[in-house]
Symmetry: C2
Subunit: 411 residues, 2 copies
């Protein structure tokens, strides 16, 4: 039921020099399924990440933060390892030991220190990670390592996703072509901070560590942190950006034209990958862009945007193509913006002016609302009339299928 | 699909002296349906209310607040008027004028001032109230006025409710029997502040205005403000307590044994009425009690309780009777309690100890979780291990039926 989600074409996913990808079928949860991915990085690479704010963050997330937090120049991150089928979350000390064992095993195979490995897991929470099967699958993944393997990589990190999510693009900086490729996964338990379950993006420019960290945070705030499917923030969400440093272009600081060009390219690709998650939202039949304008600050715009995007009543009305648009006003009203003057609010559905100064627009015709509601892509636009800030959130509708998928997820 | 929701038996709903109820079929939205209710009060009555915090609060809610805020001793509230089929919300100035016109018309019929009337509406938002039909129905409602008419009253305020919600009880204070009867409605767009769409409760003791106001606020915080179905706070939520003052018992201050006895009775009845709303939650198949214990303060307990109770993933797992209990840990983790130490958290499902010190309890058997998940009434108990505060939230599961109801609500 994905909404206008392009199936990635393997030949169009461009290899990024300095990063090799290898997949394996380790039987973590089910047999005959790609469920382990290793990404091996050139020793020129820098890596930055943004992680879930869930207090029950998974054991691998804890190790990722630890390894990235104690980075040394002479011991860069050399590989990422991702498993599906088990989140290794809510698993206590044993879970941490299992994540550590995964790092140890891969480090041994790649001849580096365990702190140079970043581990990731996704899947069911509160169940012990079958670390023996995971470790046993690593040699197969290493055998498969190659730069031109992004399609298999995208497949290897899927859980309830209906199809792999991947995209590539290029940008010319100082006359030199920089290649960017990324993959993402996730279709439920999706909420800001972090919104994705997993997103990995690599490019071949060289970027200093602090610069890459700022770029990653800023991009996340305008891409993976702007999507929501069901308001559930996962324990495992991670967004990782890798600069392999093999292309001969260097971005040394944030106030350069090179940075601006790179930022725009990374942001564009990240938004594309993030929106793919929404387009593949569990049971989604509609893709909705919620834009809040004329706010006092971006924070209140985001609050109102999420309030609309999380409302089960709004989401079911969109599923039904029913212009029951008062539900949007209700969601604006309970967003928690205390001094909101509703008499200044205007609401548009695409080009249709629905609510004017807090009440129904006298010129609004239900037939016009109905016309827009039947589309598969719809923009909800709210003007607050109290400032100049804005924010955009992407979300999907709530269907019977969402309930079916989540009632059956483990079976 | 209501969960153990008792059908009220008309003969068991006890009349409360000093309050008469009259219903009408005014054709507000559909023909041949009780959709208007008038509650006429003795001139000895005091009235207090708690209302939605939604900024888009409906026109009648605005008038209710105005009338209760400017109460004068010689001009008490004389009547309540409720219509279903239209919320008169998101209707701007015209909506306010229509609510005012309703008060004017009823005041004329009852020979009092319009400020002595409290108006309520529930139904679709953003559509003009057909005030002419409402006003035309008032004489019929007045003709039907009688004290022993609570069952019809409960029917008259239904929208997507599958059955009327009403209950009575009695309490003896100073040797005298006080009778309490209440009705409630609501089955979706249900979230704390206020959690109910509409709740009305009356008893025949005499209570001074400031005492009744405190009693109403305190009771709401432990009943109607502790339930959630879908996290959507309505524009029209109202909870009203009427003390008719006809029984010869007076409660003059809050620090008396009389107050304690009355408070316990009102709270018990209010919790019963509030839980009925959850039991009739749109599409509900399970009734869940979420109890958070050992918190630093009640606020953080409520935060975590609502986080669990609002999680679509938790709710669908309960619908499926699938003990996918890691979803509960995830919801605890993203509740927004910043300094939460998850290693101190214990989770129980009824009598089954699921998570111990933040990880899976080694003694936990999935068969035990499965056994509890199959029940229609389940308690989720979380011990935070950081204090002495607690809170309880009542909620229901999320089923296909919820989506169907809300995709079809207007049709």
């Amino acid at each position: 039921m994905a909404v206008n989600l392009p199936l990635p074409i393997p030949e169009k996913l461009t290899a990024v020099s300095g990063i090799e990808l290898g997949h394996a079928e380790a039987g973590i949860r089910k047999a005959n399924r790609k469920d382990v991915l290793v990404m091996k990085l050139a020793n020129t690479a820098t890596v930055a990440g943004v992680f879930t704010k869930n207090r029950f963050c998974a054991a691998p997330v804890q190790l990722c933060k630890e390894h990235l937090g104690a980075l040394k120049a002479d011991a860069p991150i050399r590989a990422l390892v991702i498993n599906t089928g088990n989140a290794n979350a809510g698993t206590g000390e044993a879970g941490l030991a299992n994540a550590q064992e995964t790092c140890n095993a891969l480090a041994k195979l790649l001849d580096c220190a365990p702190t140079q490995i970043l581990p990731f897991s996704t899947g069911v929470i509160l169940e012990p990670l079958p670390v023996d099967r995971l470790v046993a699958g690593l040699p197969q993944a290493i055998e498969n390592l190659q730069e031109d393997n992004w399609y298999n990589a995208a497949q290897s990190i899927m859980t309830t996703d209906t199809q792999p999510k991947a995209a590539s693009r290029q940008v010319v900086i100082n006359g030199q072509t920089i290649t960017l490729t990324g993959i993402s996964k996730g279709a439920g338990m999706i909420k800001p901070n972090m919104a994705t379950m997993l997103g990995f993006l690599a490019f071949d420019a060289k970027v200093a560590q602090p610069v890459l960290e700022k770029l990653t945070r800023d991009v996340a705030d305008r891409s993976f942190n702007c999507i929501t499917i069901d308001g559930d923030t996962s324990t495992n969400d991670s967004f990782i950006v890798v600069a392999t440093g093999t292309a001969g272009v260097e971005v040394a600081s944030t106030d350069t034209p090179e940075y601006a060009a790179l930022y725009a390219a990374v942001l564009g690709l990240s938004q594309e990958l993030a929106q793919m998650i929404v387009r593949d939202g569990e049971g989604a039949t509609k893709f909705m862009t919620v834009t809040i304008e004329e706010g006092k600050d971006a924070e209140e715009c985001r609050k109102i945007g999420y309030s609309i995007a999380h409302s089960p009543l709004v989401k079911t009305a969109f599923f039904a193509s029913d212009p029951n648009l008062g539900r949007i006003l209700a969601a604006i009203g309970y967003a928690g913006v205390e001094d909101l003057d509703v008499s200044k609010i205007n609401l548009y559905l695409d080009d249709v002016w629905v609510a004017k100064n807090g009440g129904r627009n006298p010129d609004y015709q239900e037939a016009d609302g109905q016309r827009v509601m039947k589309q598969s892509e719809i923009t909800i636009r709210v003007k607050l009339g109290r400032g100049k800030a804005d924010a955009t959130i992407w979300t999907c509708d709530l269907s019977h299928e969402y309930v079916s998928i989540n009632a059956d997820y483990r079976s």
